[in-house]
């Protein structure tokens, strides 16, 4: 169990970071989720395929609980800070790709939590639709439409940069 958790910890920490935007909170959430993983009688076996989505679901739910606890007050301030930081890159930053990545992070922070988490679960963490449905507790058939709407919303924020930057 410990080695499996160690392998999953960095990815799970990043998911918590992506949702909470605060390393200290993300660390707390990961810790709480790890305790659940070792003590919950209904947890899937650590070596099974179900364990990773199950663990990410615990992390996600814990992060959402924490956001609710904070009543999103701190989060909104942080989003504004992130946006300001993203707009503050200087002319010396000649690496277009890093600017673009920064813009992607800014744009992701501007999305609603629902939209952000589904994009990150698919594109950053690489989960299949069935796993995303299990993590978010939604029907599998809903994943594609919700993800598509989220990507279109992300595109709206990034269109100016997509024209300027060539990904190809």
């Amino acid at each position: 169990m410990d080695s499996v958790l160690t392998d999953l910890a960095q990815g799970a920490f990043k998911l918590a970071m992506q949702l909470l935007q605060q390393p200290a909170d993300a660390h707390d959430v990961l810790q709480e989720a790890a305790v659940v993983a070792v003590s919950h009688p209904g947890a899937p076996k650590a070596r099974s395929d179900e364990f990773r989505p199950w663990f990410f679901r615990v992390v996600r739910n814990k992060a959402i609980d924490r956001l609710r606890e904070q009543k999103r007050k701190n989060h909104e301030e942080l989003v504004e800070e992130t946006i300001a930081a993203g707009e503050n890159h200087g002319p010396e930053d000649t690496l277009q790709q890093s600017q673009l990545q920064q813009q992607v992070q800014v744009a992701l922070a501007k999305l609603s939590l629902d939209q952000r988490e589904i994009i990150l679960l698919k594109d950053f963490h690489g989960f299949a639709y069935a796993d995303i449905a299990a993590i978010l507790d939604i029907p599998k058939g809903t994943v594609m439409s919700r993800l598509h709407r989220a990507r279109l919303a992300l595109r709206e924020h990034l269109i100016p940069y997509m024209v300027r930057n060539d990904y190809e």
Partner: protein, 148 residues
Amino acid sequence: MNKTDTCQHIEELLTGYLDGELTQQESQRVALHIEQCEECRETWRQLQQLQRAVQETRYPNLEQEKLETMMNDLTSKGLQGIAWFALSAGLAMIIAFAVYAFWVDTSMPWYHKLAMSLIWGGGIGLFVSVLRQRLIARKTDKYRNVKL
């Protein structure tokens, strides 16, 4: 079905196509359509770009030291759980044996036993109810994280 209807229908499938989550038949339909429709091809290209951009996004790792501390804490918590279980089971066995020995003891009249049992039972009941209230308050106290 005119072109707009087809595009509308295909558009949502573009995401599934991008993620390799469509059936073979659906994939073929989308592939054929984006070959013919410039607008949908552009949307498809943008979605591909977005996906790659998100994939390449970097977020900080949890510091190795913190990770190690967390895993050590987990091991300690596991051992604590086993220790608590052993302690509780041992105490429960002793109490059960004491209660049994108390009631089978013939040197004490039954009304003494009853009175003693009520006093002990009441005391334990009060202790458990106060403990329960404290635990609930600890869990739901919204000011518990406030550092003075």
